[in-house]
């Protein structure tokens, strides 16, 4: 069921899938190295998309990737976004964010910088990132603060770093972060491939939650702490990106528009390209944005559930990956007939077997999907 008055709030522009890091939980698709993605949108294409997005009602723009700093035209893109009045966040690994570049981005009108750091310790962070990047990230964070940017630090959490959450929070405080996102890994893309090696135990999560609560009480408004637990440990699912086709548009490096960044895992859905269609048509008319919009598509137990307009049946990609059907109830929900698959994954996390991590690669797509 389409909701014609509903307008998108955010656009995530995945400017490129190229990235100097090799994080094993990367949210890019497993085939991020595919030739199609290397046919990246031009500066003019992106500029048009930003203008169309603003007219459609988008207020927040995330310049993401891969690593958006690898786009040489990033300053021009930021300038267009500022000109049309989008609130622009650079979502970066920051290894290439020296003072000159940061100053140019500031001058172009960038509003906010979000830097990912992989751990509180250099050796561990570099191991997960697959590159010696930790110290450069810290330096970039300091530069961002010196230039007066609001700074968000993003730490993806998993079983190998969750027990250092106190150190991670201390690092964020030391760097003067205005916001810190402590995002437990969600299992799509590369994280799905590496799930057995990344999934934390309930004990780890319980301790982390206590540390977060204590730190929040101590730092107050000085630093906003967002803490998101893995969907697999929730009782009810979350609305996918605020609900399918309700708040978010993600555009891939080659121009495919998607309701969420993981949506390419749904095999029978084809995504309209911004090279062929206006963003307005894509939002209101395309099959991809309408397929799971609203509640009419829902199976039981969602269809008659009183939470159906709270979580909109949960995450379509999670349903796809866990059940093979993108129209199933998200198995995270304890009411789902497939909930045992989530329970099995939780139980697997209790086994101490060593499972190797597969780093993200643009050369080799894992064959398991």
């Amino acid at each position: 069921m389409s909701t014609p008055t509903l307008r998108p709030f955010s656009l995530v522009a995945e400017l490129t899938y190229r990235c100097p890091l090799r994080c094993p939980y990367c949210s890019n698709p497993l085939d991020c190295g595919a030739g199609a993605y290397r046919d990246e949108l031009s500066t003019e294409d992106w500029a048009r998309v930003f203008r169309e997005a603003r007219l459609l009602g988008v207020l927040q723009l995330g310049l993401s990737g891969g690593e958006p700093l690898l786009r040489r035209d990033l300053e021009s893109l930021v300038a267009v976004a500022a000109e049309v009045g989008l609130y622009t966040t650079l979502v970066t690994a920051a290894t290439g964010l020296g003072r000159d570049r940061a100053e140019r981005l500031k001058q172009a009108g960038l509003d906010h910088i979000q830097i990912s750091i992989q751990d509180s310790r250099a050796e561990e962070s570099d191991r997960i990132a697959g590159s010696r990047s930790f110290h450069r990230k810290l330096e970039a964070a300091r530069i961002a603060k010196e230039l007066g940017f609001p700074l968000t630090l993003n730490f993806v959490l998993h079983r190998h770093n969750l027990d250092r959450i106190d150190e991670i929070l201390a690092l964020a405080e030391e760097l003067g972060a205005d916001r810190v996102e402590l995002a437990n890994t969600q299992y799509y893309g590369w994280a799905w491939h590496n799930r057995a090696a990344l999934m934390p135990t309930p004990e780890q999560l319980a301790r982390a939650e206590r540390v977060v609560a204590e730190t929040r009480a101590r730092v107050g408004h000085r630093m906003t702490i967002l803490y998101v637990i893995p969907d697999y440990y929730e009782e009810y699912p979350k609305a996918c990106s605020g609900g399918w086709g309700r708040r978010l548009i993600v555009v891939s490096p080659n121009g495919e528009a998607m309701p969420c960044h993981a949506a390419t895992c749904i095999p029978d859905l084809s995504f309209p390209n911004v090279r062929d269609r206006s963003l307005e048509w894509i939002w209101f008319e395309s099959e991809a944005f309408n397929r799971f919009r609203g509640t009419a598509w829902m199976p039981e137990p969602c269809r008659s559930c009183e939470r159906r307009e709270i979580d909109f049946g949960g995450c379509r990609c999670q349903a796809m990956l866990l059940t093979g059907s993108p129209a199933a109830t998200d198995p995270v929900c304890h009411l789902s007939p497939d909930h045992h698959r989530v329970i099995e994954a939780r139980e697997q996390a209790r086994r101490p077997d060593f499972v190797p991590l597969t780093p993200r690669s643009m050369r080799v797509a894992p064959a398991t999907l």
Partner: protein
């Protein structure tokens, strides 16, 4: 008791921006990963919070525009609520 004295000079916090949202026909304050929708009164007040005007000057300006309205109380209430969300600060603080 308001957190803003009559001679304090409020301005939007670092990183917060006041924008007109044409698609939804209303003003919004944008900040990292969020937006606050404003009604017309709130937008009129925040539009004057430039870090130069004092609270007293803002109230006087609005009283001239809206004679008879309980401006002072509304302005203090609004400034406090937006400051509580971390979006407004005293330029001299």
């Amino acid at each position: 008791m308001s957190r803003f004295a009559p001679d304090s000079r409020p301005r939007l916090a670092r990183g917060a921006r006041l924008r007109w949202d044409e698609a939804r026909q209303r003003h919004v304050v944008l900040f990292p990963e969020g937006a606050l929708s404003l009604n017309a009164t709130a937008a009129a007040v925040l539009g004057l919070c430039d870090g130069e005007r004092t609270v007293a000057a803002i109230i006087a300006e609005l009283e001239a525009q809206y004679p008879g309205a309980p401006v002072a109380e509304d302005v203090h209430d609004l400034l406090d609520r937006i400051a509580e969300r971390g979006l407004l600060v005293d330029a001299d603080a």
